[in-house]
């Protein structure tokens, strides 16, 4: 990307969590829209079945990827996913998911994950764009909408010289405008629904032009969630994971949620 570009459209994908079915639908949607680039902000594995099915889709569609905490762990064959959970039940399910994903990710794909960058920067005119996984300062930091003050986001933007910061990691999309036209965007995830009783997943479309500036659109995406649930069960992964994709309500990783986000869910 150079300063001479006058307008662009970019797709930003959050955690895939081995949901290759949703990734496939997203790529079809993106193709129809027409974009100049596709980025994935990390966490290719977790929750879902058949982790190796994600990687050909990323390669064939030239998706430029960041390394999330899961990717660092799988790539380097660490003991756990570094997800940052503090609750024993959250960690129990995270470990099941992690052990399955590590055992079923090929050496070639692990090498790919190991070599990914932890941030990507580019400029759109004078706008400095920063893509990261959790936060600009820490890969596995959770930035929840209800637990993150605006002045903390201003601090991060100043400290990391960014006018538009994009992250994922929490699993829930959100956006906040900051001073001087800056902003922070959580792009959501393709991996699982948003704990709102809907089965769809989300990705983000960034559109920029020198004349109109930056526009952000969250795009909902329907996919074959029944098939995903069936495959989760076939692979012997926890029933709770299948229920999440079927119902749209999170059944695990609940204790990490701040009160406001927890209240919006069912469990």
């Amino acid at each position: 990307m150079t300063a001479t570009v006058l307008k662009t459209r970019i797709a930003l994908l959050g955690g895939i969590y081995s949901n290759y079915l949703a990734l496939g639908e997203a790529l079809l949607d993106i193709k129809q829209l027409g974009v100049d680039a596709i980025y994935c902000l990390g966490d290719m594995g977790a929750f879902g079945p058949y982790p190796n099915r994600t990687f050909p889709l990323l390669r064939e569609n030239n998706v430029l990827c960041l390394q999330g905490n899961y990717d660092d762990s799988i790539g380097n064959q660490l003991d756990d996913c570094q997800c940052g959970y503090t609750d024993p039940r959250d960690n129990h399910f995270a470990q099941i998911s992690y052990d399955y994903t590590l055992a079923n990710t090929s050496a070639e794909n692990r090498r790919f994950l190991r070599g990914l960058p932890t941030e990507i920067r580019f400029e759109l005119g004078a706008l400095r764009v920063l893509l990261c996984h959790g936060s600009p300062r820490k890969t596995n930091e959770f930035l929840w909408e209800s637990a993150t003050s605006s002045h903390f986001l201003e601090y991060l933007a100043d400290e990391h010289s960014s006018d538009a910061t994009f992250a994922t990691h929490t699993g829930v999309k959100w956006r906040r405008e900051l001073s001087g036209g800056r902003q922070f965007v959580n792009v959501g995830v393709l991996g699982r629904p948003e704990n709102d009783g809907r089965q769809c997943v989300w990705y983000t479309l960034l559109e920029w032009s020198a004349a109109a500036g930056l526009a952000i659109t969250f795009r909902p995406l329907d996919y074959d969630f029944r098939r995903l649930a069936q495959e989760i069960r076939q692979e012997g992964l926890p029933e709770e994971f299948a229920q999440t994709v079927e119902t749209g309500w999170w059944t695990t990783c609940l204790e990490i949620l701040p009160g406001k986000e927890r209240s919006q869910g069912k469990h």
Partner: protein
């Protein structure tokens, strides 16, 4: 001790605490690490004006979230107004024994919370899943009174985080947690949130248990390959009526007072106390789970 205590710099002021209830409490728990009681006025209340000044001061420093403790914060008559004001600035968490909560306060707080983009968390201290296990620690009748407070919070639409100090053996942890969850569900709290904390062998707890041994200290080599962001002093400070201290646990230690302004308090702090050892051992003992600070990994 041959090694000097290692110093930990403040990487960024993420969490700003307020000793808003001073050391006054309507209860006299026998494990309280600052010996709060109805008669302990060594630290006083913070006023709404005190808190407002600090909130304004915190904006330029990029503070991420705010925590309120005591003593019992809700003995401070301005507590509701303080939380309402804080929710204009950022996420707020209040640590309470829930025995003095009033419906009209919670209605006002729910109204402010609904309008705010930020979370308002109540961390309710209950140290056993029954009167028989809780009351010997927190006082006669306190289990029933605290559970009454929990039910009020739930009725007003909050999801309180029940916080219990680990006064049982590690082997009993699973059983105790299960009994807590079952008790809370039976009381009408359908999806209970629970935070288990280590005890800190200070204040009243020093009398109850044995206090820290002189070898219970953090040494420089212990910080090698250690994620220092788990230490409270690495990302927090606390305001009391005396000034700004290093962390909520050590306010009674003279060396904990670091200055009068938040900016002045951003100095390194030596981990020279026994309580620093507990903080090191368990990590993130004061933070909410949503901060993602985890003892294991990372």
């Amino acid at each position: 001790m041959t090694s000097p205590a290692p110093s930990v710099p403040l990487s960024h002021l993420d969490d700003l605490w307020f000793q808003v209830g001073g050391t006054l409490c309507n209860l006299t728990c026998n494990h309280c690490f600052i010996s709060c009681s109805p008669k302990n006025d060594s630290f006083g209340f913070l006023s709404l004006d005190d808190v407002k000044k600090r909130l304004l001061e915190s904006v330029a420093l990029g503070v991420r979230e705010y925590y309120f403790t005591g003593g019992e914060p809700f003995l401070n008559r301005e507590m509701v107004a303080i939380l309402v004001e804080t929710l204009k600035f950022g996420p707020a968490t209040v640590l309470t024994n829930a025995t003095v909560l009033k419906d009209e306060w919670l209605a006002d707080l729910q109204a402010a919370y609904s309008k705010s983009r930020y979370s308002l968390e109540f961390r309710v201290s209950i140290d056993g899943f029954s009167p028989q296990t809780n009351d010997p620690i927190r006082g006669e009748g306190t289990f029933a009174r605290a559970m009454g407070g929990v039910q009020k919070l739930v009725q007003h639409g909050f999801l309180p985080i029940i916080t219990a100090a680990r006064t049982w053996s590690d082997e009993r942890e699973l059983e105790v947690v299960q009994k807590f969850v079952a008790m809370l569900r039976e009381a009408g709290y359908a999806r209970p949130r629970l935070k288990i904390l280590p005890t800190l062998q200070l204040g009243a707890e020093e009398q109850r248990s044995c206090g820290y041994h002189e070898l219970d200290r953090v040494t420089p080599d212990m910080l090698a390959d250690y994620d220092a962001s788990l230490l409270v002093c690495e990302h927090s400070r606390i305001v009391t009526d005396r000034g700004v201290h290093v962390c909520p646990i050590l306010i009674e230690s003279a060396d904990s007072l670091l200055g009068q302004s938040l900016a002045e308090s951003g100095v390194s702090f030596p981990l020279s106390h026994g309580a620093c050892f507990t903080c090191y051992q368990y990590g993130a003992i004061c933070s909410n789970a949503s901060s993602g600070r985890s003892r294991a990994k990372a």
